[in-house]
């Protein structure tokens, strides 16, 4: 009955043909009227339900409470697996509208789960496991590119070659100077290799005099690869031989050395190049070229299958370096120790991937007189715009004197916003508490932050007001299955990202956690016992999913040169089936988190 049951969707696409036939031979179709329970909490469900047509809500109803709806399921969605495997349902599954659903009996579901481990894993409850499977399926392309990469100049280091008579001491000094991990030494017609470990062993363990020529301790059985060989082979060789470097030969000519770390960081090797360019930029023109390379970097990272979350870390670090470098180039040397450039908002959290709006400010030492500052800072803002960092629509930029303040005023203002506890003040505060120093004197920033955290300590009233914003937007969970809303899309920022980011921000402030990055804040909150481990991990996964999905659609729009839509708009219909699944699970996590927050801060919704 392949014609009615769409087996192309995960997890059913994981089944082997004979398993699929078994599945299809055992499906029934059930008809349910509006309001009827497909699965009743506390009872054993009949099995796994796959909706053919209709809409079902998963909800919880306790006595004396309103029904709490977790999620809606629509056409082709499935549910009940977990309950079926456990033998007892925790939630009610109620037909929101007239529903027709395939039913796979529990007994058969169990058979399939045991016969096909991948299928089984898919029903494991945690989001993390699902992500894992998704990644395996999506990874292949990036992996293929990696396998086809060749040993060439890009990953190869120039060999550091020393003369036969060079002593251990001289060699060590030279390696240190050149930041090399190994040297090659020629004795007779052969090359030998000496690594840092070899030197250490010789000098410390064997107590060889430091004046001994390195040629005496070198190893002459070189493990080599041919230039042009696949990088993958080099990696395999290193793994097999338990070594960390191989020598590249072109026939008999020595070409260079490949280090294990270089191979492993191959994916981000471009980032390394750009990093170097930023570091070395002596003029604004140099820096501009490096900054423009960032977009390509992001694209290549994503196409190589680097997780958005890690790409984010890397790109944030790059953006930071660009700004720091520019600030250092523009601000006079004698002023620099008395000011601190901070980036705020998503930049402060290190959570933007594409170049996003500038959110920055300057804290100055109290009493600093810097007459030129408006001119210099205006240039700073303008140059960043030229580099491709758009203007901040809220004008939170150093070109705006409002965001260039002396330390005392800056701190006072944080306090003022906190006391006002409404609208713009709270928004400014939210942006400012994610601040991170990137250039100048970080002590200025730390003084302001620490003072503020002390002020806020134990101020429960403030935190209850502050956290409210994360409950402001509805979680767009009803999107799936509802035909009407299908083409309008959802705002992933309001619906998913913001509630997590702001909720975590509030908790972090309350527990005086200094990290600004949401992922790191979550880790720190778990550490501090302020979040349960499972909940923290779910939040991390959920946020990663939002970020990944948003990035995918952003890149797609860049390819189509479609700049009209907001970057936060996600069209669920453009997502593949599994992404949609993940998105829904992630939104579920958001909903739970909001519930948690409102209970914790005693907010009635």
């Amino acid at each position: 009955m392949a014609q009615e049951f769409n087996a192309e969707n995960l997890p059913f696409s994981l089944l082997e043909p004979n398993e699929l036939a078994l599945l299809q031979n055992n499906l029934d179709i059930g008809y349910y009227q509006q309001g009827e329970n497909l699965i009743t909490a506390g009872e054993a469900p009949e099995g796994l339900f796959i909706i053919l047509k209709g809409k079902v809500r998963e909800s919880e109803s306790k006595e004396g409470e309103d029904e709490h709806v977790f999620v809606h399921y629509g056409d082709e969605d499935y549910f009940g697996a977990w309950s079926a495997l456990k033998g007892k349902a925790i939630h009610n599954f109620v037909a929101e509208e007239e529903t027709i659903a395939h039913i796979l009996p529990t007994k058969l579901l169990l058979e399939l789960v045991y016969s096909n481990p991948r299928f089984g894993d898919y029903f494991s409850r945690t989001l993390a496991a699902k992500t894992e499977i998704h990644e395996q399926q999506g990874e292949e392309q990036g992996m293929a590119e990696f396998m086809l990469a060749q040993v060439d100049g890009e990953v190869m280091r120039d060999p550091l070659i020393v003369l036969e008579e060079t002593t251990i001491k001289e060699t060590t000094a030279l390696m240190r100077e050149k930041h090399a991990d190994s040297v090659l030494v020629k004795r007779g017609g052969r090359y030998g290799i000496v690594t840092g470990t070899d030197l250490l062993n010789a000098a410390v363990l064997k107590e060889v005099p430091l004046s001994t020529p390195v040629a005496d301790i070198a190893s002459y059985r070189l493990i080599t690869v041919e230039a042009g060989d696949y990088l993958f082979n080099a990696l395999t060789l290193m793994t097999l031989q338990h070594i960390e470097r191989v020598v590249v030969m072109d026939d008999t000519k020595l070409m260079g050395v490949i280090e294990l770390t270089d191979v492993l960081s191959y994916f981000s090797s471009h980032s390394h190049v750009i990093g170097l360019r930023i570091q070395r930029a002596a003029t604004i023109e140099d820096l501009s070229r490096a900054a423009h390379g960032l977009n390509d970097l992001i694209r290549s990272l994503v196409s190589h299958g680097v997780k958005a979350r890690f790409a984010m870390d890397l790109v944030a670090a790059m953006n930071e370096r660009v700004m720091a470098k520019l600030f250092t180039l523009l601000v006079p040397e004698d002023i620099l120790p008395h000011v601190c450039l901070v980036v705020m908002g998503s930049e402060g959290r290190g959570e933007q991937i594409m170049k996003t709006d500038q959110d920055n400010g300057v804290i100055m030492r109290d009493g600093l007189d810097w007459p030129d500052r408006e001119k210099v800072l205006q240039t700073f803002t303008d140059t960043l715009i030229e580099f491709g960092y758009p203007e901040c629509p809220g004008n939170i930029m150093v070109s705006n004197p409002y965001w260039v303040q002396h330390l005392g005023d800056w701190s006072q203002r944080l306090n003022h916003w906190a006391n006002k506890a409404e609208g713009d003040a709270l928004m400014n505060l939210a942006i400012a508490v994610d601040a991170k120093p990137v250039a100048g004197n970080p002590a200025l920033f730390k003084a302001a932050r620490n003072w503020f955290l002390r002020q806020m300590h134990n101020n429960e009233v403030f935190f209850s007001h502050f956290v409210k914003a994360s409950l402001e937007f509805d979680t767009p969970l009803t999107f799936f299955g509802g035909i009407k809303s299908k083409d309008s899309g959802i705002d992933i920022k309001k619906g998913g990202v913001f509630p997590i980011v702001h909720g975590v921000r509030t908790l972090a402030l309350q527990h005086r956690i200094l990290e600004t990055n949401t992922f790191k804040r979550i880790d720190a909150l778990i550490e501090a016992g302020a979040l349960k481990k499972q909940q923290g991990n779910d939040l991390v996964e959920a946020l990663s999913i939002f970020v990944q999905i948003r990035l995918q659609q952003q890149l797609l729009r860049m390819d189509n040169e479609d700049f009209n839509e907001s970057p936060n708009l996600i069209i669920p219909d453009r997502l593949d089936r599994l992404d949609k699944d993940l998105l829904r699970e992630a939104l579920k996590v958001v909903k739970e988190f909001k519930k948690h927050l409102s209970m914790r801060f005693h907010l009635d919704r």
Partner: protein
């Protein structure tokens, strides 16, 4: 009316025979939705290409208990019906003989009521092949889907004729269109329509 007389007569003859159970009144709550794909709409000259059937128990369409029979290609498989059913002779090359198919149908249906869309055509088709071999036709109670539909919606359509086309009914009942023109697909769709009409609210017109 003619069919009823025949059934009475045949019941007398076969009540105590090996197929006597087919003639007993049905007590359970199951119905069998059945559909035949044929080479023509004229019973006299038509041949059966495939038979699909599915049991309905209460509001559940038991697609796990179903019949999906393809028959050996009849000689009369012509261009016209190929166009409708998209079944070519080669698709039927692995089919079963009509005798085997009839045996399976009798076994699957038993004495349950038979449901179909223009069900008399399907019953007549089967009877045409049953009688020469068994000496009787299907004695089962027949449920005509379009009548069930008509009875429910006629109160809502004052004076006008009710559109009884298959696609219209499926549409009005807001049912997903499963693959049309396969015997099993149609049997399942009819089963869903039936359950929907029996247990759901009357469709809006």
């Amino acid at each position: 009316m003619l069919r009823k007389f025949k059934v009475y007569k045949e019941r007398k003859q076969h009540r105590d025979g090996p197929y006597g159970h087919l003639f007993e009144p049905y007590e359970g709550d199951e119905v069998v939705s059945l559909d035949c794909e044929t080479t023509s709409l004229d019973v006299k000259e038509a041949e059966i290409l495939s038979i699909g059937a599915v049991r309905i128990k209460g509001r559940r369409v038991k697609t796990s208990e179903r019949l999906d029979i393809k028959l050996k290609p009849p000689k009369s498989l012509t261009g016209d019906s190929i166009v409708i059913h998209k079944i070519r002779a080669m698709d039927l090359s692995e089919g079963v003989e009509i005798e085997e198919a009839l045996e399976q149908v009798l076994d699957f249906v038993g004495n349950r009521p038979i449901l179909g869309y223009y069900v008399n055509f399907d019953i007549n088709m089967l009877d045409k092949f049953l009688r020469p071999r068994y000496g009787f036709g299907l004695p089962n109670k027949a449920i005509e889907l379009s009548h069930v539909y008509h009875d429910i919606v006629k109160w809502k359509s004052i004076g006008g004729d009710v559109d009884l086309r298959f696609d219209t009914i499926a549409n009005k009942l807001n049912l997903p269109m499963l693959e049309r023109h396969t015997a099993l697909g149609d049997a399942i769709t009819v089963a869903l329509m039936y359950v929907r009409l029996k247990f759901g609210e009357a469709p809006k017109l």
